[in-house]
């Protein structure tokens, strides 16, 4: 079955700045995809290309097989929730939600019906006559969602939908957002720079860096099998340890400057022996061991960050790399001499070709 929404080779330049380079993405009907990346990675540009506010220099956007690349935004039938909601301040809540229904030539009664339907879907029944400035941030967000969904769009686009809310409200609003989108069953593409948001809302997450798609996968795959060094470092906590490929017994092994050798390191088949690599390792994949354990690297504890049931230890390793180790809070104290080795459980450390300094 072909995908519902397809982006194919999207490129967009603003002056000399390449905002997106060759972005291709296939999204199934009713799927929720998060565009995740640091600021300036091009995620908002991708969303605006899909919405039709920008026209790509190259590439196509298709919905249900229809090419909409050059279609004006008002003809795409895509709903969008803006970062600051963009509610019309001179209209009531009801007028805002009803704004997108004019194209359907509904009777007044039918339009009213649709507006109250949309408002009740976001738990704002009876808010029709309220004025926008009188609403709380969370309510404004839900009105924006109701307004976007009221015309029954083909695709829902969300631009940092939760960034404008204060942290206490964000969790609850996120759960509600998820519930509503699931209930409507609409194909959704949303932009965020918060990993937690992307993981919670997205069926799949598309990670962008410098205008390029680094990896599109489920949250689990992104965390456990990051395809690139960028994804490995950007998603979750990790340490980056310089090493050389090979030197051990198995297929995947690395040798550290201290002489320590780790086996069972995942790495690209294209890596060749002695090639300098960056080993990316999660804190839970490291542990404190006694000297002499296989793969042990000596170091000194620099700091401890207490996190309740456990603590993160910053350790300076021999060879001047810094690693983060997750362990019991009483496992060590700053200043202690320790020995670090890979833990048998937890995601396997992964080696990536050393990145040239830019």
């Amino acid at each position: 079955m072909p995908a519902y929404l397809t982006l194919d080779g999207l490129r967009k330049k603003f002056g000399d700045f390449e905002a997106t380079r060759d972005v291709s993405l296939a999204i199934d009907r009713s799927e929720i995809v998060a565009l995740l990346g640091p600021s300036g990675s091009g995620k908002t540009t991708v969303l605006r290309l899909v919405a039709g506010f920008e026209t790509p220099d190259a590439g196509t956007i298709r919905v249900e097989g229809e090419d909409v690349t050059r279609l004006a935004p008002e003809r795409r039938r895509f709903g969008m929730v803006f970062q600051h909601y963009a509610l019309f301040p001179h209209m009531t809540v009801g007028e805002n939600v009803g704004f997108g229904l004019s194209g359907e030539r509904l009777s007044d009664a039918a339009e009213k019906e649709r507006v109250s339907e949309a408002l009740s879907a976001v738990d704002l029944t009876g808010f029709e006559e309220r004025r926008v400035p009188s609403l709380s941030g969370g309510q404004q967000q839900r009105v924006a969602l109701a307004r976007a969904l009221a015309p029954r769009p083909r695709v829902l686009l969300l631009d940092e939908p939760l960034s404008n809310l204060d942290p206490t409200l964000r969790d609850r609003t996120r759960r509600e957002l998820k519930r509503i989108i699931r209930k409507v069953g609409i194909t959704t593409l949303f932009v965020t720079h918060e990993q937690e948001e992307a993981f919670d809302l997205g069926d799949r997450v598309a990670v962008l860096s410098r205008g390029r798609l680094e990896q599109v996968a489920s949250p689990e795959t992104l965390y456990e099998e990051p395809a690139t060094r960028f994804v490995a470092a950007f998603i979750g906590r990790s340490s980056i340890l310089p090493a050389a490929w090979g030197g051990g017994r198995g297929a995947g092994s690395v040798t550290f400057p201290s002489g320590a050798v780790w086996d069972a390191v995942a790495g690209d088949a294209a890596l060749h022996p002695q090639e300098p690599v960056d080993v990316v390792v999660r804190p839970e994949s490291l542990r404190f061991v006694s000297a002499g354990t296989a793969g042990a690297i000596p170091g000194e504890v620099l700091e401890r960050r207490y996190a309740g049931h456990s603590a993160y230890f910053g350790v300076r390793l021999a060879g001047d790399a810094e690693a983060e180790v997750l362990a019991r809070p009483d496992a060590a104290r700053p200043g202690d001499a320790v020995v670090v080795a890979p833990a048998p459980d937890g995601p396997a450390p992964r080696a990536y070709p050393k990145e040239k300094e830019t």
Binding site: E74, F88, G100, A148
Partner: protein, 549 residues
């Protein structure tokens, strides 16, 4: 593609209205089509021309100094101190700014002029047979200028002070600075951009000032009056060169002052809380002085009202008019020939304001949202008339539209009913255009994008989203434009015809016919219409309240 064509057509229309007349005037001053410098050399050889040029400059500089000396301390008083009546007084003081300059001069004449009440009082007290002074010459001009233009410094400084964060003062005093040091090292430097803005506005307004030098300048000539007298004497070529000279000074002043403004870019942050007002120990005394000052400011207009009720020929040597009646008003509102200027002013101002609004909005919409290559050109074309004195545009339009050459975009409009509304339109463009540009820039583009994503096309987005949200800004701009046209004297005196004479010209002829009462009645009418228009639209009052969609 069609959008590009629309933008190009709009730029062409604006260039024809704004740029073309100026270029033609420059060309004719340079002797076109023969291109010789004869007129320029004639100008350079005449000492009276240099005198007028110098007079324009020094009067304007002195006006800036005098206005600053009145306006800045007043602003500090009203913004940093609290005393009874502060709010009402603060608004009252700013009132002269919305009144037509001609009305201000007239009111001043009736109060402080040689036959004004003050002069009569002094004359009676000294039992002299001669009036103690004549309100005439450069000092008189300066007095009127300071009286009307200190408001710019007052309003700008108040706005600047209101925006300053109290934390600056607190930080400075925590570092051990006393009040004087805070003023010198913190407050004034932070106010610099605001003060530079006020100075620029005052300088330009003073340079363009025509009513005061024309009515009370006596034999003292500034450039604006020099131009008009040259034209009246039939010396069109000299007027052309004078116009170019005045335009050059205006542009030079603009560039210099803008550079001074930009040199040190300090932005007073808007964060935090505004400083609290000190309750003055002698608040009552300050209030008394404040009210006295406001009374002095408003007295001329009260005088104007009084004179409008003085029947012709009834007030001779008495201190105050012995008889009051509604005869002047009855005559203004009953005689068709006297009603006509009122009708003229109203329709010409309304039409020109509406057209300027439409053009300004179209230019802003095209430039701000289109982001095309013409954006900068459109904005400049709309702004140019602000930078040049009204006299310059009057002469430029008179030059351009007194020749029939349709292939060159020139038609004979001088002497028709069209020329004045057209001139008002050009003068109004910066006022409505600036409001539209500023309003659109402040409007979050996401609002229009939201409307687009909800299926609204360009027309519906404009009608339902952009226009309602711009309405307060547009109403304010239109209100100022309307007031400017309604009270216009400087452009009208160059371009009016008997059939299209506006109120200001009628005031002038009333004075010439010794009908001061009728002139005063027209003046009161102008002031009342201006104030009403400002209060109704300019403050966004009812317009903002009625934003229920």
């Amino acid at each position: 593609m069609t959008r590009k064509i629309q933008a190009a057509l709009l730029a062409l229309l604006l260039a024809w209205l704004v740029g073309y007349p100026l270029l033609l005037t420059l060309a004719e001053a340079l002797g076109a089509p023969h291109w010789n410098l004869r007129h320029v050399l004639d100008f350079a050889r005449r000492t009276d021309e240099w005198g007028a040029l110098w007079a324009s400059v020094w009067i304007s500089l002195a006006t800036v100094g005098l206005s600053a000396a009145i306006g800045i301390p007043l602003a500090f008083l009203f913004e940093t101190a609290d005393f009874p009546g502060r709010r009402v007084l603060g608004t009252l003081i700013a009132l002269p700014v919305v009144l037509p300059p001609l009305v201000g001069v007239l009111a001043f004449l009736f109060l402080y002029g040689e036959s004004g009440v003050v002069a009569r009082a002094v004359q009676l007290a000294t039992r002299s047979s001669e009036p103690p002074w004549r309100l005439s010459g450069p000092a008189a001009i300066l007095l009127v200028h300071a009286y009307t233009m200190f408001v710019y410094f007052y309003l700008f400084t108040r706005a600047g002070l209101a925006r300053l964060d109290a934390a600056y003062y607190e930080a400075a005093s925590a570092l051990g600075a006393g009040r004087l040091r805070i003023l010198r090292r913190v407050t004034l430097p932070l106010l610099r951009p605001v003060l530079a803005g006020a100075a620029l506005l005052t300088f330009m307004t003073s340079l363009s000032s025509f009513s005061a030098p024309y009515l009370i300048g006596g034999t003292f000539r500034v450039m604006t009056t020099q131009i008009v007298f040259s034209r009246l004497n039939g010396d069109v070529e000299a007027a052309m060169v004078e116009t170019v000279a005045l335009a050059a000074i205006a542009l030079g002043g603009l560039v210099l002052l803008q550079r001074a403004e930009k040199r040190k870019d300090v932005s007073g942050a808007v964060r935090g809380t505004a400083p609290t007002r000190r309750r003055l120990r002698r608040g009552g005394l300050v209030a008394v002085w404040g009210w006295l000052f406001a009374a002095i400011l408003l007295l001329p207009h009260a005088m104007l009202l009084l004179v409008s009720f003085v029947p012709p020929g009834s007030w001779t040597t008495e201190l105050l008019p012995p008889v009051l009646s509604g005869a002047n008003w009855a005559s203004v509102f009953s005689e068709p020939e006297r009603l006509r200027p009122i009708g003229n002013s109203l329709w010409m101002s309304t039409a020109s304001t509406a057209a300027a609004l439409a053009l300004g909005l179209a230019a802003a919409w095209t430039a701000v949202r289109g982001k095309g290559r013409l954006a900068g050109a459109l904005e400049n074309l709309v702004a140019i008339p602000w930078a040049l004195p009204g006299t310059v545009f009057a002469v430029a339009l008179a030059t351009t539209f007194s020749v029939r050459a349709p292939w060159a975009g020139r038609f004979i409009l001088v002497g028709t009913a069209l020329i004045l509304p057209l001139a008002y339109l050009v003068r109004n463009l910066p006022l409505t255009g600036r409001a539209a540009f500023a309003g659109l820039r402040q409007l979050d583009p996401a609002l229009e994008e939201a409307a687009a994503s909800l299926g609204a096309g360009r027309a519906r987005r404009f009608r339902r989203v952009v226009l309602p949200l711009l309405r307060p800004a547009l109403a304010a701009g239109a209100s100022i434009a309307f007031i400017t046209s309604l009270g216009d004297f400087v452009v009208s005196i160059v371009l009016y015809t008997f059939d299209t004479r506006p109120i200001s010209i009628e005031i002038l002829s009333s004075l010439r016919m010794q009908e001061t009462g009728v002139g005063a009645a027209y003046g009161v009418l102008l002031a009342a219409l201006s104030a009403a228009s400002f209060l109704f639209f300019g403050t966004g009052g009812p317009g903002a309240a009625a934003r229920s969609g």
